[in-house]
C-alpha cells in the first residue's frame, strides 16, 4: 500500500492548481454568473486541452490512462477554485459509461469527442423517484419496427442545457427492474427532446430533460439489463467519489478564505481571530477536512479492491459522511463572515452552495445511509 501521491500525481495536482489559480478568479466567475452562462464552451475546451477528460480513460479507448485517483485530484482543485464547469458530471461520469460500451461505434466516437472537448455529453439517469437508485425510474422505452420510442422526465441533468449528446436510461415497456433497464446514446437534435428549467442554486448547470415520444433507431441502444446496470453502478460509484473530492476542495477553499477573513476583520478593537471560540471552530473545520480527504481515500480503496456490493456501500458511506461534514464546515465559513457571508459579493457562500448541490447529486443522505446500513447488516449475518 502506498498512501502518498506519486511524483506523476503530484505533477497533475500542481499543474491543476496552477491552472485554477490563473483561470478561476472570483471576479470572472461573478461576471459569468451575471451573464447567465452555466457552461462556457471555450473554458470547457481548455479543460480538454489540458487532457483532463481523458484521464481515467484507458489508452486503448483513446484516453490517457491513469485512474480515478487522478480525477479526484483535479476535482478537488476545481472544487476549491469554484469552477462552474461540471468536470465531474460531464467529464468523468459520461466518459466512464462510454468507455465501457466502446464496442458500439457511436459510443467510441462520442468518447473521442468528449475527450477532445468537441462534444458535451450529459447523463440523464435520475428521476424524481430515483434518489440515487438507477433502477427507480419511470421513463419508458417502447419497441417499434426499427427502434424505440422514449417518453419520460429526467431530473438534475447536469449539462442538459448545453449538451450535444445525452446518455439516457429508460425501462422497456412491460418489463421491470434490472431486466427492463435500457441505456441509449442520443443526439440533442432528436425531435421530442427538450431541456426544462434554469440552473442550480450554485449557478452551475442542471435541468430537467423531457422526452416526449422521442423516436430513435436501434443503433442508439448501448446496453440492456445486467450489463447496463453493472456499468451504471460502477460509473455512479466512481463519479460519487470524484464529487466527494470536489467537496473536499470546497471545504479547503472555505477554510482558506475564512481564516484570512477573521484575521483581517476587527470588532471590539481586536481581530476576530483572537476569539478562542472562533479559533476552535476553525480547528474543527480543518479536522473535518482532513477526515473528509481520508474518507475519499477509503472510497478510492474500495473502488480499487472491493466487489460491487462492498464498493457501492463504502462509496455511499463516503458520500454521506463527506457531504454532512462538508455542509457543516462550509456553513461555518458563512457564520464566521457574519452578514458578509450571506452575500454574493463574498466568495465564501459559494462553497456552501456547492456542498448543497453535491449533496443532491447521486442520492442524498437518506439513500446513502440506507445503502451503507444494509451492507453493514448483511455483513453481520454472514459471519
Amino acid at each position: 500500500m502506498e498512501l502518498q501521491l506519486s511524483d506523476e500525481q503530484k505533477l497533475i495536482l500542481e499543474s491543476a492548481q496552477r491552472y485554477a489559480t490563473e483561470e478561476y478568479t472570483f471576479d470572472k466567475r461573478r461576471k459569468r454568473v451575471a451573464e447567465g452562462v452555466t457552461i462556457d464552451r471555450a473554458a470547457w475546451s481548455q479543460l480538454a486541452e489540458l487532457g483532463w477528460f481523458g484521464i481515467g480513460v484507458p489508452e486503448a479507448a483513446g484516453g490517457f490512462g491513469a485512474s480515478t485517483i487522478e480525477n479526484t485530484l483535479i476535482a478537488e482543485t476545481l472544487g476549491k477554485a469554484q469552477a462552474l464547469e461540471p468536470y465531474t458530471m460531464c467529464g468523468v461520469f459520461p466518459a466512464r459509461l462510454l468507455t465501457a460500451f466502446r464496442q458500439n461505434e457511436a459510443a467510441q466516437a462520442a468518447l473521442e469527442n468528449l475527450i477532445s472537448g468537441e462534444a458535451l455529453v450529459a447523463v440523464a439517469w435520475s428521476e424524481a423517484i430515483s434518489r440515487g437508485d438507477p433502477l427507480a425510474i419511470e421513463t419508458k422505452a417502447s419497441r417499434t419496427a426499427d427502434g424505440w420510442v422514449l417518453s419520460g422526465r429526467k431530473t438534475l441533468v447536469v449539462g442538459g442545457d448545453a449538451a450535444d449528446l445525452f446518455l439516457v436510461t429508460a425501462l422497456e415497456d412491460g418489463k421491470n427492474g434490472t431486466e427492463g433497464l435500457r441505456l441509449f446514446l442520443i443526439g440533442k437534435s432528436v425531435a421530442g427532446l427538450s431541456p426544462e428549467g434554469d440552473k442550480l442554486i450554485d449557478w452551475t448547470s442542471g435541468v430537467d430533460l423531457v422526452l416526449q415520444d422521442v423516436k430513435v433507431d436501434q443503433s442508439t441502444l448501448l446496453a440492456s439489463g445486467e450489463d447496463a446496470l453493472a456499468v451504471l453502478s460502477s460509473s455512479l460509484d466512481e463519479t460519487a467519489v470524484v464529487l466527494c473530492a470536489e467537496a473536499v476542495g470546497a471545504m479547503e477553499g472555505a477554510i482558506e478564505v475564512t481564516s484570512q477573513y477573521i484575521r483581517d476583520r476587527h470588532q471590539y478593537g481586536v481581530s476576530l481571530s483572537s476569539f478562542q471560540v472562533l479559533q476552535h471552530r476553525m480547528a474543527d473545520m480543518v479536522m473535518d477536512m482532513v477526515l473528509a480527504r481520508s474518507a475519499v481515500m477509503c472510497a478510492l480503496q474500495a473502488l480499487a479492491n472491493a466487489g460491487p456490493a462492498e464498493r457501492s456501500a463504502k462509496v455511499a458511506g463516503c458520500k454521506a459522511f463527506v457531504t454532512r461534514i462538508g455542509k457543516w464546515a462550509t456553513s461555518q465559513g458563512i457564520q464566521l463572515h457574519g452578514g458578509y457571508g450571506i452575500t454574493e459579493e463574498y466568495s465564501v457562500g459559494q462553497f456552501y452552495k456547492r456542498l448543497l448541490v453535491i449533496d443532491s447529486f447521486l442520492g442524498r443522505q437518506d439513500f446513502q445511509l440506507e445503502r451503507y446500513t444494509k451492507w453493514m447488516i448483511s455483513g453481520l449475518s454472514a459471519t
Binding site: 435520475s126 428521476e127 424524481a128 423517484i129 430515483s130 434518489r131 437508485d133 433502477l135 427507480a136 431530473t155 438534475l156 426544462e196 428549467g197 434554469d198 440552473k199 442550480l200 442554486i201 449557478w203 442542471g206 435541468v207 430537467d208 476587527h266 470588532q267 471590539y268 478593537g269 476569539f275 471560540v277 472562533l278 455542509k327 456553513s331 458563512i334 457564520q335 457574519g338 452578514g339 457571508g341 450571506i342 452575500t343 454574493e344 459579493e345 457562500g349 456552501y352 452552495k353 448543497l356 448541490v357 449533496d359 443532491s360 447529486f361 442524498r364 443522505q365 437518506d366 439513500f367 445511509l369 440506507e370 446500513t373
Partner: protein, 402 residues
C-alpha cells in the same frame, strides 16, 4: 405542575383558526407557505386585515391598540399564523420601534407614529449595523450634528432588512464624538424619502435582494424625531434588542411549520415505489429533530407560563432559545431541502423584491420553490439578532459569571 390543557386557550386557538380561515386571502399566503420572505404588499395588506380585527399589535398595551392577550395567547396566535402561512408583518415597526416609541417617545411621537404602525400604513426598517459595527454595534460611526432645529446625519448603514421597502427608518447615530462608545449615541426616526438618503440593495446567496446598504449624505432630521434624550440612545437600543431576542429568537412556531411541511412532503415524495417518509434513514433523523423541537417548545411554554426562573435558564433563557432555535431551524430547513431530492438543488428565483417576476413557470413539484431560499435565510438567523457565539457568551456570563 399539571398538564391539563387549558380550555380557554383551546377555545382561543379555535377562534384564531376560524379567523385565519375566513380572513387570510389565499394570495397573501402563497409566498409564506412556500418559504419566501413576504413582500411589502403582503406584509402591509395582512397588517391591515389584522388591524381591522384589533389583532395587529399583539404585545402592545391596550391603550395603544393591543388586544390584551396573555403571553400564552400571543404564542398561540403566532403559531396559528405561521402554520396557516400568513405573511410576516413589519417586525421593524410592530416588534422593534413601536415599543420604543410607546415606552420612551413623547405624546406627539406616539400620536404621530403608532397608528401608522398598527394599521399597516408605514413600513419601518432598522438602521443599526454598519460595515465596521456589527457584533460590536457600539462602535458605530454614523454621525448626527445639531443644526438649529435639525440634526444633520452623515454615514452609512448596512444589512437593513427590507431596506428597499422602507417608508421610515429608525437609526442610531453618534451625537457626541468625544464620549466613550455607548455614551454618545442617539436614536432617530427618519422618513426615508428625505433628500440625501440612498438605498442600495445587496444580493444575497439565494438570489434575492432583501437586504440593503443605506447611505446618508447630509440628511436633515427634525429634532422632534429624536427619541428620548440626546446621547441616551443606547438605553433604548438595549430595550429594543432585548425585545428582539425575547420575541423573535426561538421562532418556535416556524420550527413547527417546518416539521409539518417535511412530513407532508415526505409522504408525497417517493423513493422508488415507497413514500420517502417510510425510509428509516430519513424518518429516524426527522424524529430526532422533532424531539428536539418539542423540548424547545416546552421551554418557550415555561417562560410564557411563569417567566424566568432558575430551572429554565433564568436571564439567559432568551439567548438559549435564540441559539438553539436558530440552529434547529437550520437542521430542519436542510432536511426540508433533502425531502425534494433532485429538485432541492434547483434555483428558484426569489421574487420578494420584484413583484413582476412572480408566478413565472418553474420546473419541479409545486412545493419546491422557496425551500432552498428558506434554508439560506436560516443561515443568517445565527448571525443576526446577536451572533450565536455572542449568545453563548451571554449564557456563560449570565449563568457562571465567566
Amino acid at each position: 405542575m399539571d398538564f391539563e390543557p387549558d380550555s380557554a386557550d383551546e377555545a382561543f386557538r379555535e377562534e384564531v383558526r376560524a379567523f385565519l380561515k375566513a380572513e387570510l386571502p389565499e394570495d397573501l399566503a402563497v409566498r409564506g407557505r412556500a418559504g419566501f420572505l413576504s413582500g411589502h404588499e403582503e406584509a402591509m395588506a395582512w397588517q391591515k386585515i389584522l388591524a381591522k380585527k384589533g389583532w395587529s399589535v399583539p404585545h402592545w398595551p391596550v391603550e395603544y391598540g393591543g388586544p390584551k392577550w396573555t403571553a400564552r395567547q400571543r404564542y398561540i396566535f403566532d403559531e396559528e399564523c405561521y402554520l396557516a402561512g400568513a405573511p410576516v408583518t413589519n417586525i421593524g415597526g410592530i416588534g422593534l420601534v413601536g415599543p420604543v416609541i410607546f415606552t420612551f417617545g413623547t405624546p406627539e411621537q406616539k400620536e404621530r407614529f403608532l397608528p401608522g404602525i398598527r394599521n399597516g400604513d408605514t413600513f419601518w426598517v432598522q438602521g443599526f449595523s454598519e460595515p465596521n459595527a456589527g457584533s460590536d454595534l457600539a462602535s458605530l460611526r454614523t454621525t448626527a450634528v445639531r443644526d438649529g432645529d435639525h440634526y444633520v446625519i452623515n454615514g452609512q448603514k448596512i444589512w437593513t432588512s427590507h431596506g428597499k421597502f422602507g417608508d421610515w427608518n429608525f437609526l442610531l447615530a453618534r451625537t457626541d464624538p468625544s464620549a466613550k462608545k455607548q455614551a454618545g449615541i442617539s436614536f432617530f426616526l427618519l422618513d426615508i424619502k428625505t433628500p440625501g438618503v440612498t438605498v442600495r440593495p445587496i444580493e444575497s446567496l439565494e438570489g434575492s435582494h432583501h437586504l440593503a446598504e443605506v447611505f446618508y449624505d447630509n440628511v436633515r432630521v427634525p429634532v422632534e424625531n429624536l427619541i428620548g434624550e440626546e446621547n441616551k440612545g443606547w438605553n433604548y437600543t438595549k430595550f429594543l434588542l432585548f425585545n428582539e431576542r425575547a420575541f423573535y429568537g426561538a421562532e418556535a412556531p416556524a420550527l413547527k411549520r417546518y416539521l409539518q411541511k417535511i412530513k407532508k412532503i415526505a409522504s408525497m415524495e417517493r423513493a422508488g415505489d415507497q413514500p420517502l417518509i417510510n425510509r428509516p434513514t430519513f424518518a429516524a433523523r426527522l424524529a430526532e429533530l422533532e424531539i428536539e423541537m418539542t423540548a424547545i417548545d416546552m421551554t418557550v411554554s415555561r417562560v410564557i407560563a411563569h417567566g424566568l426562573d432558575e430551572r429554565n435558564g433564568g436571564a439567559a433563557v432568551g439567548s438559549i432559545l435564540k441559539a438553539r432555535g436558530t440552529e434547529l431551524a437550520q437542521k430542519l430547513t436542510d432536511m426540508l431541502v433533502e425531502t425534494i431530492g433532485d429538485y432541492g438543488a434547483y434555483y428558484y428565483p426569489d421574487t420578494n423584491d420584484e413583484p413582476s417576476l412572480r408566478n413565472l413557470p418553474f420546473t419541479g413539484p409545486d412545493y419546491a420553490p422557496g425551500l432552498m431560499a428558506e434554508l439560506i435565510y436560516r443561515r443568517a438567523a445565527s448571525i443576526y439578532g446577536g451572533a450565536n457565539e455572542v449568545q453563548r457568551n451571554i449564557v456563560s456570563k449570565t449563568l457562571f459569571g465567566f
